[in-house]
Symmetry: C2
Subunit: 206 residues, 2 copies
DNA sequence: AAGTCGAATGTGACTTTATCACTGAAGTGG
DNA sequence: CCACTTCAGTGATAAAGTCACATTCGACTT
């Protein structure tokens, strides 16, 4: 069990009850937690690993909306659980994840009886809202070349970035060709070295 | 006081206490409820009217994120209140609005003691998340001409749409020139009639 | 070691959208 | 009626998206 979990905010009784009624599940990388059109079967509280949430437009293009990490509750699932609507997005495990699947009854009870849990949930919601607002601004107003450079820099700290142009296009919500061309241009300017499925950042400065 | 308010979900004691400690405020059209950089001074629960929430990028361009109507709580304010961060967006009254300004203490108490209130809050959050996800998809993948036509159709039911090209550009998150050109093209195709600050939809079909 | 095949990448041609720098037209208040 | 501000129109150019196809890489087979 992870440290600093939102579950630590529960008192012993509630925590015990929760751990009894909720299942801890392991998800290998690549596993789909849920996909668009599906209905919600329980509330995932991410304990470890990383899960990306992405959505696909009618055009068939996808974009990564945000990521969930330790201590994040899946706010999308809350919405779907409450209203009975289907998911609009898809959640894919990136780094082998561990999550606690909380049944609705237990969630309601925790919301009712633990101020700490409530606060955790509200914080999670706040982060999501913030992430999405920032994303709207990015997509609507910022230039793709700058966004690409920024994305690369944010991942380049520990060695070469292992990702295909297609996947990178989904990260940025653009087309693969656009990414390929921008990367080629960066390579011409000696800012990156490209090889199949791999980008080495050599000369990008923040 | 509006019917079907989230306040109806409170029991008499809580409602009475809330109405004592929270102020009902009136806001005329055009009034700024809060703007980017400001800090939160209480939680607006919209009772009537309409408030649009928009954000401005570093480029200086703005985009409308979503609208709040009766029974919506300002989820952005919850986030700012909880974390102490400043607002990232701006809220502008469109139709003269009435809102209940709830102090933090009262909000916490309502969340603690009323399951109905909690549900209302979660629903509000769910709507916001949904709105923003849809918006991301729109902005990232849909064509501007289609989005413009759709926007016009959604407003054209009751007579001509009174809006400037600039304001319409903010609705769609694009530049004024783009809106002007697309509208001119629609006019050439006899789908709209244009005059200063006014667009009459004549031949657009869904 | 050579051949095969699918995934990944490269690229030209063209369209759509964004940006910049203006011009002109329409209302508004003196 | 005139000055002024706000709103709208437009050409030139750059950035980004789309479509269609060519090429290359690497893993796996034989």
């Amino acid at each position: 069990m992870a440290r600093h979990s939102i579950l630590d905010r529960l008192n012993d009784t509630l925590r015990k009850e929760t751990l009894e009624k909720a299942r801890v599940m392991q998800f290998p990388p690549g596993q789909i937690l849920f996909s668009a059109g599906q209905h919600c079967h329980g509330l995932p509280l991410v304990i470890g690993g990383r899960v990306k949430v992405q959505m696909t437009g009618v055009s068939g293009h996808s974009i990564v909306l945000y990521r969930m990490e330790a201590d994040d509750i899946c706010t999308l699932s809350i919405g779907c659980l409450m209203t009975g609507r289907a998911y609009r997005a898809e959640a894919v495990v990136e780094e082998g994840a561990e999550a606690l699947m909380i049944p609705r009854g237990v969630f309601d009870r925790l919301m009712d009886q633990s101020a700490g849990f409530r606060l955790g949930i509200m914080e999670s919601y706040g982060r999501r809202l913030d992430d999405l607002m920032l994303l709207v601004e990015e997509v609507a107003f910022r230039r793709m070349d700058k966004r690409l450079e920024e994305w690369l820099l944010s991942r380049a700290a520990r060695g070469p970035v292992v990702i295909t142009h297609q996947a990178l296009a989904v990260e940025l919500g653009t087309a693969r060709e656009v990414v390929s061309r921008l990367l080629k241009e960066l390579e011409r300017r000696d800012m990156v070295k490209l090889s199949r499925g791999r980008i080495e950042v050599t000369g990008l400065l923040r």
